[in-house]
Amino acid sequence: MNVQDRRRLLGPANASPIVFSDVKEKKSKKIQAKPDDEISKMFINTGLVKNCDGSAYIEVGNTIIQVSIYGPRPIRGSFIDKAILSTECRFLPYLSQPNDSISRLTSSTSLITNYNGKLNLSNIEQKISSYIESCFLSCIYLENYPKSSIDIFIKILSVDTNLLNLVNDVVHCCSLAMVDAQIESKDLITSGNLRYLKSNNHIIMDPKCKDKDKDITNEVVEEGKLDLVVSFMNSRNDEIVGFWCEGNDTLEDDVLEKLIERCNDMSKEIRKNINFYLIESLE
């Protein structure tokens, strides 16, 4: 009796099973976690983009941001006595945007294109754009540029952190680009970013951690966490030009006062570094 199975396609009789060689997974270089009271190192460069009026590039850890500023450039149409400031923030299309609670609902809508064939800005992108815009509205001498517009284009090339920490880096990048574009401003904006854990009254400066995905019923919400980013004009009496707080805990007055103060310290520290860079680059 022929026992060969005719219903299936069989391999040759002398076939032998594949054996995979014993490849060990390459251990990725572990980035050492920085101490909680330290600001992470950043790489900055300005003037890389040649066809715009000012540009800056910033790298903090695995987060890469590039900003180009066009302007002041003339606008068509009726007379205006002040420059119009517009901001557009875009993530590269393949990046997953910081998974904050705000973006969870709308991640699907972010891929809808408008009639230009361009991707619409997602909520996160809009949110960052308007934060930056409101910061720089109070900083630039817009009345010195009548009949003109200043456009800030923020491109996020890579992101490996939470939303507010990203905003913090974006602010610095825009400030540097503003200097490179030589637009008259009251001051250079720098900002500080903190995470406050209520349970042990602990402050993490410049938190680099990603937000965890929350599940649908919102059950795994870590308790008592506050994220804060505050932008300052440090040489103008530490005026606050931007303030953004997210989290899932109540905000007490005394805690807030302390947090703003710590943000200010961090902002000053970054300001020193940026000042140093700018003086160096002059020479």
């Binding site: 109070s138 899932n248 007055d253």
Partner: protein, 283 residues
């Protein structure tokens, strides 16, 4: 709205004296009178309409749908529609993300869970018929009322459908329905967002259109259960003459919202309970 330089300086001066003189003779912590009603849309689970004295008007409808929990990324969906405003505009997207950011954190998600497989999905549809000032405050009051008046039909089928698949069935009697936010229980009220304007050393709640035009900066402050909750963020209410603020302003805005918030919640709850009586007597 375009103000002449004289009007602008008059408004600015009268709002920056101590105590501020507001154009409609309100005190700094006083809201504009509103006309509010709720539970008037027969086809939705909860609804509300709020009209402001300056002609601003918003309608919010809350509808629910039974969904398979595993197919949904979120059980709450918020949509804002404003006349003559593009849905993908920065203005609308920012409104939506501010509302999402506070509602998602303070929503009784466990009440939406029906069985192991099924849950309610809540659609909050906001329609702003007209607005003169920044509509976030108005919208937040309207959403509060709509959520407070939301009723969910009573589940009559079994809660445990892990072994046997079963479509949930509900009690036909609307009298037996349960409120999403039960007033008697030890449960949180829906959160509110307040808009605060800043001029000189003064902060004032619920700025009108003229006040927004001359305000130097603005804050959006979240409020829930007598406490300040995130998001708290700065925002530019007008594109002109914005200036930085100091931590003092933020703390002032805090205590103001904390005090007014309780009064506002009390007033809104009265609206809900009075309208609810009418509603239940009809059905």
């Amino acid at each position: 709205m375009i103000l002449s330089p004289a009007e602008r300086s008059y408004l600015y001066d009268s709002l920056s004296v101590q105590p501020p003189v507001r154009p409609d003779a309100r005190s700094a912590h006083q809201f504009r009178p509103i006309e509010a009603s709720c539970s008037f849309l027969p086809n939705s689970n909860g609804s509300s309409r709020v009209r402001l004295s300056d002609g601003g008007e918003a309608i919010v409808s809350v509808k629910t749908q039974v969904v398979l929990t595993k197919n949904e990324s979120s059980l709450i969906s918020i949509d804002v529609d404003i006349n003559k405003e593009r849905d993908d505009s920065n203005f609308i997207k920012n409104l939506i993300s501010s509302l999402e950011s506070i509602l998602l954190k303070k929503f009784p998600i466990e009440k939406l869970k029906l069985t192991e497989r099924y849950s309610f999905k809540v659609y909050i549809d906001c329609f702003i018929l007209s607005h003169n000032s920044y509509p976030l405050g108005l919208l937040s009051l309207c959403i509060y009322l709509a959520l407070k008046s939301t009723r969910l039909p009573l589940l009559t089928s079994t809660v445990n459908d892990r072994e046997i698949e079963e479509q949930p069935t509900f009690n036909d009697d609307w009298e037996a329905s349960k409120k999403l936010f039960e007033p008697s229980e030890h449960q949180d009220d829906p959160p509110l967002l307040f808009v605060v304007g800043i001029i000189g050393n003064n902060v004032f709640i619920d700025p009108s259109n003229e006040e927004e035009e001359v305000s130097e900066n603005g804050l959006i402050v979240g409020f829930a259960n007598g406490e300040i909750v995130p998001p708290v963020q700065s925002t530019n209410l007008s594109n002109r003459d914005s200036k930085g603020i100091s931590p003092k302003h933020i703390l002032k805005a805090y205590s103001m919202v904390r005090n007014c918030g309780k009064e506002v919640v009390k007033a809104l709850n009265t609206v809900v309970s009075s309208d609810d009586d009418v509603f239940t007597s009809i059905y």
